[in-house]
């Protein structure tokens, strides 16, 4: 078993639920081929540096896992068939230095996944709602400080 990192770009034309469903399907492809997912980190909707299949944006998702080297070709073949994916990048972490970096990144991703778990359902809702929610948080904080001072 070797450490691999799969970066996957999902089509932006899908709805948020469809994106989550396709990511689950992608993770299933890895697990069904004998891979063990160590951590996942969603990078979210980003602007692409160059258009891919006439799409300007894409949903980035990173999966850290340990997979048998022989299973990689099968996983990549399945990725190529999947039409929801714009692009995938598979990277091997083999040398000692890379393994240390891999473990650090896995821990970071795990921490990030644990901390904002309450916020993840918020981010799944449309992006337009996110700015409206942040001011409410800001208004709450001064109230709390005022009550504390009184």
């Amino acid at each position: 078993m070797r450490n691999y990192e799969n970066l996957v770009i999902v089509k932006p034309t899908l709805t948020a639920e469809e994106i989550q469903a396709s990511i689950k399907a992608i993770e299933e492809i890895i697990t069904s081929n004998g891979g063990e997912i160590a951590a996942t980190s969603p990078m979210g909707m980003r602007k692409l540096a160059y258009p891919i299949e006439k799409n300007e944006r894409g949903y980035y998702h990173v999966i850290y896992s340990s997979i048998a080297p022989s299973a990689i070709s099968e996983i990549e073949r399945r990725f190529r068939i999947n039409e929801d994916l714009l692009r995938f990048v598979t990277i091997k972490y083999d040398t000692n230095r890379e393994k240390v970096a891999f473990n650090n990144m896995v821990e970071k991703a795990k921490k990030l996944a644990e901390e904002p778990k309450d916020q993840t359902p918020v981010t799944e809702t449309p992006v337009a709602e996110a700015p409206t929610q942040t001011p409410t948080v800001e208004t709450e904080d001064p109230v709390a400080t005022e009550t504390a001072s009184e």
């Binding site: 540096a49 160059y50 891919i52 714009l86 692009r87 990048v89 970096a101």
Partner: protein, 87 residues
């Protein structure tokens, strides 16, 4: 010429920071070794050591494949948005 002056002091910034591994997903960190047109800057201008230059060139090529950093920039893109997506 301005670029040459910018890199007058010649020492490897990555050695100074003791960088062992560069993550290709962190596109901001790659900016130092990219020109305005997103070309990989040569060692003679950045002062990077051979070891770190090799690491950076691999990492930048990975980031290009993942559409985090563009392969080429046309004249229009240079004028309108230099390093816009990396900020």
């Amino acid at each position: 010429m301005a670029e040459k002056r910018k890199y007058k002091k010649r020492y490897c910034k990555y050695c100074e920071a003791k960088v062992d591994f560069i993550d290709y997903k962190d596109a901001k960190a790659l900016r130092f070794s990219l020109s305005e047109r997103y070309k990989i800057m040569p060692r003679r201008l950045t002062g990077n050591c051979k070891r770190h230059q090799d690491m950076i060139s691999v990492v930048i090529k990975r980031a290009r494949a993942a559409a985090l950093v563009p392969y080429t920039v046309t004249r229009k893109a240079v004028v309108t948005a230099p390093f816009e997506n990396l900020r």
